[in-house]
């Protein structure tokens, strides 16, 4: 199992990625302390609503925002990459001549994606803590940062759920066909949004603002708390179920191959 995980780690240029992320995190923290200790009053500005905020805070918020959303989508794109690596290098025949069962092979893929999501979420948490350390307590940026943090875990759970839906397709149809299905799905979502923007009732978005979202979150605190409990449990259960399905599909595929 360790060897299979290391193979996937190499396939996604893991060592380089870890180094880059570690260096970025150190620089991120060091600059935060430096700016925070020096005082950042010179960087104050005002938004259209007349609220004051700090530009350095905004820059840091953008850093943590990209970490969670781009990082998570990057992990989401890892699954096809590690599948492609095996297909391209014709590793299946070699791997299954070794004492590696199909179940172990499937488990390694699921574990790898699970670990990558855990690391992404952990790194985001670290960046969020660094960002919040010297941030102005009141103001739009602090509100934004806390709102994004509130949705971080459900977002990771949503991605885990999406992986749970996608992974069996990779094992059944291979990378090429699964990617086509994936692109078709996102195109469908894209066209639905375009259709809504062209023909939908846009008045429902009239009162949307960060304040409205924060107020809504405060009003529905208990519901969000329940969602925060259910979403990790549900997504983990779905991920495990997906793993069992993938093992079944892949073992059956072996019968067809033979």
């Amino acid at each position: 199992m360790g060897g299979l995980l290391y193979k996937d780690f190499t396939a996604v240029n893991g060592k380089r990625m870890v180094m880059i992320l570690a260096i970025f995190t150190v620089i991120f923290a060091a600059l935060r302390i430096w700016f925070g200790s020096a005082g950042t009053d010179d960087f104050m500005t005002e938004n259209a609503d007349g609220e004051y905020f700090n530009l350095i805070d905004l820059l840091y918020f953008m850093g943590e925002f990209f970490m969670i959303y781009l990082g998570a989508f990057f992990v989401n794109s890892m699954a096809p990459r590690i599948m492609e690596y095996d297909e391209k290098n014709r590793l299946h025949a070699y791997l299954f001549s070794l004492p590696v069962s199909r179940k172990t092979y499937v488990a390694s893929k699921y574990l790898f994606i699970g670990i990558a999501l855990y690391i992404t979420f952990s790194l985001y948490m670290i960046w969020h803590v660094i960002t919040m350390a010297y941030m102005m307590k009141e103001g739009p940026v602090a509100e934004l940062s806390q709102t994004v943090a509130g949705f971080a875990l459900p977002f990771i759970c949503l991605l885990l759920f999406m992986e749970a839906l996608e992974m069996p397709m990779y094992f059944l149809f291979g990378k090429e066909k699964s990617m086509m299905a994936r692109v078709a799905f996102w195109m469908l979502i894209f066209f639905v949004i375009i259709w809504f923007l062209m023909f939908g009732d846009l008045t429902i978005m009239k009162n949307w603002s960060m304040h409205a979202i924060v107020k809504w979150m405060e009003k529905h605190e208990f519901a969000l708390m329940m969602f925060g409990i259910i979403s990790p449990v549900f997504s983990l259960a779905a991920y495990y179920l997906s793993y069992r399905i993938s093992v079944r599909l892949y073992e059956r595929k072996e019968d067809f191959d033979e």
Binding site: M1, L5, S122, I126, V129, A133, M135, K137, F222, I229
Partner: protein, 290 residues
Amino acid sequence: MNRERKRLLIYLLLSFGLTWIWFAIACPKGKMWEDMPQEMQSFVALGMLFPVISDVLTRWITKEGFAMTDKDSMMLGISLKNGKWVWFAVAFFLPWIYTELGCIITLILNPSCYDPEYYLVLGIEKRQLYLLPVIGIISGVFGSFAAFGEEGGWRGYMMPKLMKLMPKGSALIVGGIIWGLWHAPLTLIGHNFGTEYPGYPWLGIVFMCMNCILLGIVLTFVTEKTGSVWPAVFIHGINNANPSILNGYINPEKDKLIFGVNGMWIGLLISLLFTAVVVLVMWRKKEPVS
């Protein structure tokens, strides 16, 4: 000098050095723990990551390698076979059990602490209060990176080395003291016990060492049983998330000092002592002394 001892010394130097430098840089000058906003406290607490960073650095310096599983490894693998899954299940619920037990002991020692509506002061509704243990478990597991930062180093490197150098009992005590002393700068600025107690800060450091010895026994036990640091990480993470319903009924302002320290800590310490004794009995049963 013995090779293992040398490696351990390098690890301890790095772990203490890097963490204490971090505390010195990150702590706003002249501020005590309770004067800092919560965001700044979390920032300072990132020092928890340095034990595992030191583990990686030590392995790189001493060329020990970065094996994930088996002997002399970083113990990062997870195996649920041969009944090991039981210890993972225990890891999820044990902190909740001993925290509630600690609260019960606190209430027995100091009944005036009982406040039937204290959870409202904490800004928690009654229906939310009963969900706190589940939230503690989920946040302790998903947000376990900080606990991993400590356990990856203490359980993944220091304890196996100490156990090679001395008998298990001594290793558990020495390991707990080292772990407790590592917290000393934070205890000094009032983390855990505050500053308003007689014998500050030395008594606080002694209590922290005792707490670390007892919790360390439990954490080292589950690590040895599973060959993985993850159950210890989950216990530590959930422990830090404070998964307790009864906490919502204990008003710390009515709490009185026992042996010079906050009564709630004494409750938790007694409950941990009980848990550690149970663990030690189980350990002895599995490995009878010849």
